[in-house]
Subunit: 116 residues, 2 copies
C-alpha cells in the first residue's frame, strides 16, 4: 500500500528519487546521501567519499522500497570499508505525499546517521 | 546484489520467510514478528494483537527486501493503532547465507523493538 507512488513534485518539500539521480553521482546536501534507484555500490562509494573528504557525520536517507537499500549501504560501508564508524542513530518516520491524482498517501522513511 | 537469494534451509539457523508464513497468521516466537511476503496489514495486526494480549515488548524482524515492509509495519502500528508505544531500538545487521549452489551471500537485516 505504500509502494509505487506517483509523486507530484510541487507538493513535497523533500528531494525526490529522480532529482536525487540528476547530478554527477549521487546528490549530497549537508552530508546527506539520498538513496534512489542506482546500484547500491554507487551510494556506498558516495558515503565513503564523504567520510574520506574529512566530514565527520553522514546521514543516509531513503523512502519506500529504497529503505532496504539504505540498510544495505550502511552495512556495506561499515563492514567492508570503514569499520571504525559509529552509528549515531536510526530513525524511521512517515511522510505524507500528494499523488498525481490529488489523493494523499503515506510513505515510510528511514534516516541512518553514521559518524567517525 | 543482496536481493532474491535462493536459500538452502539446512545451512541457516534462522527462520526463513516461507517458514514464517506457514502457521495461522504470522509466526510469532518470543514476541518476535518475522516479516515475510504477506500483506503489510497482516503483520500490523499481529503486532497489535501481541500488545493487546498483555505482552510488553515486541520485536519486528526482516531481511532483504522485506526491510521496507518492516518499517511500514512499525509506522502503521505506532501512528494508527498504538501511539503510546515507545521505540526501544532499531538495529541493523548482516547475515551470511548459503545459496542453493553452495556460494555464500550476505543479506541485510533489521530488528525494530517496540515496548509499552
Amino acid at each position: 500500500m505504500f509502494h509505487e507512488l506517483k509523486v507530484s513534485n510541487q507538493h513535497i518539500g523533500v528531494i525526490t528519487m529522480d532529482e536525487a539521480q540528476a547530478p554527477a553521482q549521487t546528490r549530497t546536501e549537508e552530508n546527506i546521501i539520498y538513496i534512489g534507484r542506482k546500484p547500491t555500490m554507487n551510494y556506498v562509494l558516495a558515503v565513503v567519499t564523504q567520510f574520506n573528504s574529512g566530514i565527520a557525520e553522514v546521514t543516509i536517507k531513503a523512502r519506500g522500497n529504497s529503505i532496504s537499500k539504505a540498510v544495505d549501504v550502511k552495512e556495506i560501508v561499515v563492514n567492508r570499508f570503514l569499520p571504525a564508524l559509529k552509528e549515531k542513530g536510526i530513525r524511521t518516520s512517515s511522510e505524507e505525499l500528494t499523488n498525481e491524482d490529488g489523493t494523499r498517501s503515506k510513505v515510510s522513511a528511514i534516516q541512518i546517521t553514521l559518524m567517525k
